[in-house]
Symmetry: C2
Subunit: 432 residues, 2 copies
């Protein structure tokens, strides 16, 4: 710890750009060491980090209490304070999360494809680490452990940049991760924390630190993600919003539709997989629309609908064009009657965010058409959109959900944090 | 053809930015249509385009003759003229190339992974198109057919931007591709040619055309690739250079080494998989270095070596630090004696370009270490580095070779031109 203090003192004399460049170089060097490390070694580090988090619970909570006190003193909003606050259960959840990541199969070295050529060459496509992942997040201190642990599992160096409001909590958690790395004999730079709260540091990360950063993962609100997507000079794994649709087809089972819509909209309203727009096929509007809308209203969900939807209940408010483009992340839903699956798909492609969309129908052919034609990262048939989650997909954990079409799409788990290379084994073959 | 002429006239009145924005919008719209098209429909278009190329051979050769005459009049270098020039055999090769692409299996709709969850959900990861691919190339007119055909096969729209020197040839070939699209009932914008030779058009493509372009593929010399990699705001599939190494391990079979080195360096010197640096293990320098160096010198390959290499033959020139960083693309090789596999890997990681690297050894364990530890897109054991090629990998055709770690790495064939989505099939499941 003395060395860390000395290093911090030295750093105070460096400008942000120099600090970040040095951080990038150390990360790139650590990435090479990490790529050569064994899966069990990385798992040892994850377990040791989990133990350190449990052993240092008091330190972490004390640091967090200071962060929270400062935030309260600044008059910060309650929802922000809630995300910032740790308690023994949340600390234990971080430790257990690291152990769960350790228990996942090693994503590196997997043979993704294997083929032999007529000339006798054997070619394997083998999973390798991505390299260095920059993670930019806001108030939740637990992202430190989650993101650091996931990157480590996949053999990637993580460069973590948390919000200034949670700086003390983040540093306390990061110290535990470093303890884990040290216990496994891995370089401490394998999970690096940006040593300054200067906002310019984020700009340097988005520029890629002279090629040291391979990919950026923003974890936070829409404004953070928008800034990152706009400014980044390196690839970004993220989604700007989850403008999630549920389409009730003419062959939908009403009871199934009710159960799924209620869960998809209201189980948790603040997550990206929460439904935001309900589309009902005109062919069953007479029988299905009123029960669904009444159910939502009775469950204290505001409904903003087109004229057909307004007609079924006086409590429905009129929807504006803006509503079709709005991710509420709240107990509000927009609703509209559409002329069958073609109009539903057209609406989704026009207003959607290519994140998660769902069809409720008993007609298999219609379901297959929807699953095939809607161009979203996740398309569901007869299941709640709140399953849009790496844990629910069986990925163990996720660093986020991506809507891009390159490399990672949908939940980004350890597998998506890997790259690959081709290993070619021959016996003297030359090219004709 | 009249409509095309009219359109071209209209375009002359638009500024480059407007032209490019309209092109991008048309491409994005065509991408949606293409994503819904069937594999056989796209193959029909490829076959029809091949027929059109054969039927219009005279037009294509006439257009090309004009391009060549202009280039000769400008005093262009002979190697450039060679790349620019078409003849009946090269026209036939383009047509056959399109038919070979058509014969490849449909890369879309493939189930890449499939898993069931304990709650009964069935989740499939299914291959989908990437979207819109911008291809920027130089003098070779045949890239028009190759790149357009590969993109079409994978359901992607191609926006093609050839060099101004080959503008007439490119337009004549592009007309055949459009004829193929029309024959299959696919939108003509599915393979778009940038309608202006204004250099600003490339800048607009690199900026992504308001999100219309998903990925850029540069096909050409190092300066083109460097500009694209530096300026692009969208992902790029490319390699800047192929600084390819061959390491002769202490357990190398000398005869095998000689055959492979000769082929890897001299079969064709101008391709990215050609070897540029020979590393010889000090343990076998006494027996292996002289025969390899003499063989290369006798085959008219210039050798630039360290002092140990210079000592074996008076014809060896001294290598400078710059030589270890140079991709010659010519009958020149740099050569060095290294202290075993560790020093070899250190040299490759320090000076290499992560493209293709090779070890010659009869020791399996050493080979496996090299294949595992060298972080290049393609790592070979006992085979010529000139196998770094999509066709040789069995991919049928390639749009290029990528050294990035994201999404596409190594030869980029139709499979690497796809993305994926998750299709989730349920029976009323909701999240607890």
């Amino acid at each position: 710890m003395e060395n860390v203090a000395k290093l911090a003192e030295t750093r105070a004399y460096q400008d942000v750009e120099t600090q970040m460049r040095l951080l990038g170089r150390a990360a790139r060097k650590a990435a090479r060491a990490l790529a050569l490390s064994s899966g069990p070694t990385r798992d040892t580090a994850l377990h040791a980090a989990a133990s350190a988090i449990r052993a240092r619970e008091a330190d972490i909570l004390a640091a967090n209490a200071q962060d929270v006190a400062d935030a309260v003193a600044r008059g910060t909003a309650g929802s922000f304070i809630d995300r910032l606050t740790l308690n023994p259960a949340r600390v234990e959840a971080m430790a257990r999360g690291l152990e769960e990541i350790a228990a996942l199969p090693d994503p590196l070295g997997r043979v993704l494809a294997s083929f032999a050529r007529p000339n006798g060459l054997r070619i394997d496509r083998v999973a390798t680490p991505l390299g260095v992942v920059g993670v930019i997040y806001e108030s939740r201190p637990n992202v430190t452990a989650d993101a650091g642990g996931l990157c480590l599992k996949a053999g990637n160096v993580a460069i973590l940049r948390g919000g200034s409001e949670s700086a003390r909590s983040t540093a306390a958690i990061h110290a535990c991760l470093v303890e884990g790395l040290r216990a496994a004999g891995l370089p401490e730079a394998a999970i690096s924390l940006v040593p300054t709260q200067d906002r310019a540091a984020v700009g340097h990360m988005l520029a890629g630190l002279d090629g040291a950063i391979d990919v950026i993962v923003p974890r936070g609100g829409k404004s953070l993600v928008a800034r990152v997507q706009h400014e980044a000079r390196v690839p970004v794994f993220a989604h700007l919003e989850g403008l999630v649709h549920i389409f009730i087809d003419r062959a939908a089972d009403l009871e199934k539709a009710k159960t799924i819509v209620l869960n998809a909209k209201l189980r948790r309203t603040g997550i990206c997989g929460a439904a935001e727009t309900l589309l009902v096929d005109r062919a069953v509007a007479a029988t299905h629309l009123a029960p669904l809308v009444t159910m939502l209203l009775d469950a204290k969900c505001e409904v903003r609908g087109d004229s057909a939807t307004q007609a079924v209940d006086a409590r429905v408010k009129p929807a504006t064009e803006e509503d079709w483009r709005t991710e509420y992340l709240d107990a509000i839903i927009s609703a509209k009657v559409v002329d069958g699956i073609d109009a539903a798909i057209e609406h989704i492609e026009t207003y959607g965010s290519h994140h998660t969309d769902c069809i409720i129908t008993e007609d298999k052919a219609t379901a297959e058409r929807f699953l095939s034609e809607v161009d979203s990262a996740i398309v569901l048939h007869n299941a709640s959109t709140q399953f849009a989650d790496g844990g629910e997909f069986g990925f163990g954990a996720e660093i986020g959900i991506a809507t891009g079409r390159m490399h990672a799409r949908g939940p980004v788990g350890v597998e998506q944090l890997t790259s690959f290379k081709y290993q070619v084994r021959g016996d003297g073959q030359v090219r004709a």
